[in-house]
Amino acid sequence: MSDPASITPAQSQFRHTLITVMSMQLFTLLLLALIQLRYN
């Protein structure tokens, strides 16, 4: 675990973006799975 005090604003921004991107992917995959379950 990195020391929170040593994280730069850019790193913090990157982590935030990363979490958003991965959440979006999980949401999309979940949506696609529901579509398959409903219509296939």
Partner: protein
């Protein structure tokens, strides 16, 4: 197409060229010409990254695939977000901080000139050819549907692209990409909206019909290396493919090298990671909805009008017999689809679904017979008579209302031009930086290099157009080059992975590269049914293993990654 549609296409072409030429102002150095002085905002770079990957083949081929094969192609992109995140924390900071013009330049700093020149040469060979195929794909379709000579179709796409790329450099390419992405997404959204309002059934029933025909199967969890599109080949093989493409291919590396900072370069890649799968789902769902549309409206037996004319002229009796069978199969399918849509009770719905599936199989059987007839009459292969790429153009030209067709044809051209422009720009960069400046004239003035860069862009543009016009005769050669390309794509990734391992040495990297290519070639010829997505995994892993093994045997001063 109506005069208004042509006016829209002409307005698009004039705007994109004039805007690109305008961007040439203030570009007096090669850093500006190739890298926009490393000063572009992340969102413009991100859109450029997406536009470079999205070609006309995506617009007409992937939508067509959605119509014939359904949603499962989307699994191909499952590795993309993972690859973008890995690149964001590994290769992108390395390349960006190294202040290089090309990804291969970094390999000389880390290893030696031999590895740099070899990888750059492999890039020039494969991208030069693939650039031709990117122009050829819409060129061939346009020439078939509009009855044009292939030369004119290629010129319509190739000439404006070469002009703005040659004069305006990367500034013109990136800002044109931004506008082209807006046009493409607008056209796709307009198409979905139009389809949803035009279908005779509601969206829920439309998707139920598509699902009954097997078009809504997204995931395939079987672990079969011979199958191209499965969840595992997408996640594992796809990740390696995307790592190779976005990390080591100059046509993509150059996009994020133009970003203001390492963080902006990362953000640009993450933007693509964020939007790629939803965008691809949108493209495929258009194909699926067009399939449903043609369940209720009569589609042609052969979508390629040029082939249809040839078959009719050569054997009209056989074609007429097939058309009669086709009309009756379509009528049965339409009735079955309507009954399935109307069935509300579970038992009746299941029965109606089976009846619809049977009628769909009957339609497919007639289509297969028609393709067999086309193969016999034209003497072409199964791959050449497949008309997947003609489904969307047929729909656009015969169904879309006034103005819509022009927007969609302009969007197809935008997709072809954005992918081609980025490739021409990167081919010119690798030619000038990795060969001309490195080996022929290391001490030239900036003005001299700028002149040579523009000539190189023009040369590669001409080369791409010649390859595109010869697409029919060069077909097998292009296939050989593409297959050859798959031999080294993963291997080049392996070299870049080695570059980030401090213990790795130049000799290990070069021999590892050759070993990786040999391993992929052996798999390709020894087990040809293994899907190409796994080739990248095999190549990269072999290079890293062999490279590290050879490097461990060397006791030279450590070469730290810079």
């Amino acid at each position: 197409m109506s005069a208004l549609d042509w006016l829209i296409v002409a307005a698009y072409l004039i705007y994109v060229v004039s805007d690109g030429v305008r961007r040439a102002k203030g570009t007096h150095h090669i850093e500006g010409y190739f890298l926009a002085n490393r000063n572009l905002p992340w969102w413009a770079v991100g859109l450029s990254v997406m536009a470079t990957q999205l070609s006309a083949i995506t617009m007409i081929g992937t939508t067509g695939q959605g119509a014939t094969d359904g949603m499962r192609f989307i699994q191909f992109y499952f590795g993309l977000p993972v690859a973008m995140v890995i690149l964001g924390v590994t290769l992108v900071p390395f390349l960006h901080r190294a202040k290089v013009f090309t990804a291969y330049e970094y390999l000389e700093r880390r290893f030696d000139a031999k590895t740099r020149s070899f990888t750059a040469l492999l890039f020039l060979m494969s991208r030069g050819m693939s650039c031709g195929t990117i122009v050829a794909a819409p060129g061939v379709v346009f020439s078939a549907i509009f009855g044009w000579d292939l030369y004119w179709a290629v010129a319509l796409i190739g000439v404006p692209t070469v002009i703005y790329t040659m004069i305006g450099g990367v500034q013109a390419v990136t800002w044109a990409d931004v506008k082209q992405m807006v046009l493409i997404v607008t056209a796709l959204l307009a198409m979905v909206t139009f389809l949803l309002f035009t279908l005779p059934v509601n969206p829920d029933d439309a998707l139920r019909i598509a699902g009954a025909a097997g078009r809504m199967r997204v995931f395939d969890f079987s672990f079969n290396v011979n199958q191209t599109y499965t969840f595992w080949s997408g996640v594992i093989g796809g990740t390696f493919l995307m790592l190779s493409y976005f990390g080591t291919d100059q046509s993509q590396a150059q996009r994020y090298l133009t970003a203001r900072s390492t963080d902006e370069a990362r953000s640009a890649l993450l933007m693509s990671a964020y939007w790629k799968i939803p965008l691809q789902a949108l493209i495929l769902i258009i194909g699926v909805l067009i399939f449903v549309f043609f369940v209720f409206r009569t589609p042609p037996l052969l979508f390629n009008p040029a082939q249809e004319r040839t078959v009719r002229a050569a054997d009209s009796a056989s074609l007429a017999a097939l058309e009669t069978r086709y009309a009756s199969a379509l009528a049965e399918r339409r009735t079955a689809a309507q009954q399935f849509a109307d069935a509300s009770e579970a038992g009746a719905a299941a029965q109606a679904r089976e009846a619809f599936r049977a009628s769909e199989n009957a339609v497919s059987a007639v289509r297969s017979d028609a393709q067999a007839l086309t193969m016999r009459v034209t003497g072409r292969s199964e791959r050449e008579v497949r008309d997947v790429n003609y489904i969307i153009p047929h729909f656009v030209l015969t169904v879309l209302p006034l103005g819509f067709a022009g927007i969609f044809i302009a969007a197809i051209m935008a997709a072809a031009m954005s992918a081609t422009a980025a490739e021409l720009n990167s081919l010119s960069t690798a030619t000038v930086i990795d060969f001309y400046k490195r080996w022929i004239k290391p001490e030239g003035s900036d003005a001299h290099y700028l002149r040579v860069s523009k000539i190189a862009t023009g040369f590669w543009g001409l080369f791409a157009c010649i390859v595109a016009t010869q697409a029919a005769t060069l077909g097998s050669l292009i296939e050989v080059v593409n297959r050859f390309g798959s031999f080294f794509y993963g291997s080049i990734l392996g070299v870049f992975l080695l570059a980030m391992i401090p213990r790795a040495r130049a000799r290990g990297a070069f021999i590892g590269l050759l070993a990786g290519m040999t391993a992929v070639a052996s798999v390709n010829f020894g087990a040809p049914s293994v899907s190409f997505l796994w080739h990248n995994v095999i190549g990269a892993v072999t290079v890293v293993a062999v490279g590290l093994l050879l490097s461990l045997g060397q006791h030279l001063p450590s070469a730290e990654p810079r």
